[in-house]
């Protein structure tokens, strides 16, 4: 078993979920690989800390409120589902696509004529750059109220 496979199995290994042979293979690898052993210790300490966290009890009547909210939403959704006419839906979809295409062309033309179009992907990237830089600076600042915060990731907002 190599490092890559061991890291896949590591969590299950610590939880005692592996069968005997897999368990032995992981153990064998760990005995000879200091990097994976460090990863195992890291994961073990994480699991240990998580076990120590307090349990939260939901407030009184939480389950009833949750069930009733879900049921209400399901009922509202079912009204639309019942009245759905497939040919009408196809027609609406076709008109929507045409309208969206028309809006896109209009928008595209107006932006091009302004000579300043910035694709939204680039704009998002600019925003992400700012967030990233902010988190970078905060991570190095022990007094920052965002010191440990994680940031919107590459491609996610």
């Amino acid at each position: 078993m190599n490092c890559k496979s061991v890291q896949i199995y590591l969590s299950a290994y610590l939880d005692g979920e592996l069968c005997g042979q897999e368990c032995l293979q992981v153990r064998d690898h760990l005995s000879g690989c200091s990097d994976c052993r460090a990863e195992e210790q890291h994961l073990r300490s994480l699991k240990h800390l998580l076990r120590g966290l307090p349990n939260y009890r939901p407030s009184e009547g939480f389950e009833d409120r949750l069930v009733s909210t879900v049921m209400n939403r399901t009922e509202r959704k079912s009204i639309f589902a019942f009245n759905l006419n497939w040919s009408m839906a196809a027609g609406v979809a076709a008109v929507s696509v045409l309208a969206a295409f028309g809006v896109f062309r209009l928008t595209d033309r107006s932006m091009s004529s302004a000579g300043s179009a910035e694709p939204s992907a680039r704009l998002n990237e600019l925003e992400r750059d700012i967030y990233h830089d902010q988190m970078f600076m905060a991570g190095n600042d022990p007094l920052s109220s965002n010191r440990f915060a994680s940031f919107p990731t590459h491609g996610k907002n």
């Binding site: 994480l46 925003e127 600076m137 905060a138 007094l143 915060a149």
Partner: protein, 377 residues
């Protein structure tokens, strides 16, 4: 009867005056103790290994909290692993003191850049700014995650800013809890340690970035900036002349400036601080960043062909006043030298990028560097 009342009143007033005097003296020593505790936090020579689970307010402004495991070595190396929310679970940041890498398992991406610890140590400057702009006091003790913590309050001397309440582990100088308090004294939690241990050893491989073991990941390298030290006199071919106001409100000072030589979004990032708070004022050529709107925690404004983005963890009206200082300074500079910002804005449109930047962009290397592109006059 009247005389007795007068004597009693005099006694009470005298006692109150004595108490105030003692309180004042105690306040003074509290202030130095608070300053020492803050200095301990800023001290880069960490004295302890730390493993903690922290609940941290999410920076998206929605009021949700992230749960993060943090491991810090005695010499300041850091590994952070997001446990919650699920959308970020498994995101890791490893800082080995030389480089910092963010691992994004869903995207199979690693973002690598210089470690922020390579930035200059500004702890003494920040303490000096804190003492200038805030009243410091130790207001008591408490226990957090099993550790005894001193409660230090930094109260701003400028109305409009928030107070900050630090709960500091007296033995290690690690902040166990941080809250901000508005003018009414309502606390808002920034982060709180839920579990913490100070182990004698943490394996050095925990802080190893180990890119060779992440074969399936794509690596994006980002090289960060150097520093501008010309106080606005430097020639920076980024599309405009950056603006440095002579004075900022709320006791903020300009610390330094960095140039982002990103192929598409060249900007100057001006770092400002009032002591406890660090912020950044990004300056872009307006033609590049025309559509940029306000993001959470930022204020945006334009002047002289430059788009300004103020990012700082302060109330919005404070950010806006900082922004105004930059806008006013730009207008003044424009009156002295009309059209300068616009000229440079036209000079470097994206299609006229330097060959170096274009080549590196195609290699998917986003570069933060000013070394080759700045000459100081």
């Amino acid at each position: 009867m009247a005389r007795t009342s007068f004597l009693l009143t005099a006694l009470v007033v005298g006692a109150a005056a004595t108490a105030c005097a003692n309180g004042g003296k105690r306040g003074h020593s509290d202030s130095s103790q608070a300053r020492e505790l803050l200095m301990k936090i800023l001290d880069r020579n960490y004295r302890n290994n730390i493993i903690a689970i922290i609940s941290q307010r999410s920076p998206d402004g929605r009021g949700s909290y992230q749960r993060i495991q943090v491991q810090i070595s005695k010499d300041g190396k850091v590994r952070q692993t997001v446990i919650y929310p699920l959308s970020l679970q498994g995101v890791e940041k490893v800082d080995d003191g030389r480089q910092s890498a963010v691992f994004l398992p869903d995207e199979k991406l690693v973002l690598v850049e210089e470690s922020p610890r390579t930035l200059p140590d500004d702890s003494q400057t920040r303490i000096n700014l804190t003492v200038r702009n805030y009243g410091l006091s130790v207001v008591g003790n408490t226990t957090i995650a099993g550790q005894r913590a001193a409660i230090v309050v930094a109260k701003p001397r400028h109305a409009g800013l928030e107070s900050r309440r630090y709960h500091i582990d007296e033995k290690t100088g690690f902040i166990l809890k941080l809250e901000t308090l508005d003018a009414k004294g309502t606390p808002k939690l920034a982060f709180q340690v839920q579990q913490v241990t100070y182990p004698t050893n943490i394996s050095s491989s925990v802080f190893s970035i180990g890119l060779d073991k992440k074969e399936e990941y794509s690596v994006i390298s980002q090289r960060r900036t150097g520093f501008l030290d010309g106080g606005g006199k430097g020639y920076v071919p980024i599309g405009f002349s950056p603006v440095f106001p002579a004075e900022l409100p709320y006791g903020f000072d300009i610390q330094d400036a960095q140039v982002n030589d990103n192929g598409y979004y060249r900007c100057v990032a001006i770092r400002i601080s009032d002591g406890p708070i660090k912020g950044t004022v990004y300056q872009y050529a307006q033609s590049y960043a025309r559509s940029l709107k306000n993001m959470t925690g930022t204020s945006v404004g334009d002047a002289g062909g430059i788009r300004f983005v103020v990012a700082a963890d302060v109330p919005e009206n404070v950010r806006k006043r900082i922004l105004s200082a930059f806008l006013e300074a730009t207008k003044k500079a424009d009156q002295d030298n009309p059209g300068l910002g616009l000229f440079w804005g036209e000079e470097l449109l994206p299609e006229k990028l330097s060959l170096t930047a274009t080549e590196e962009w195609t290699l998917e290397i986003r570069q933060w560097s000013q070394v080759l592109l700045i000459t100081h006059q």
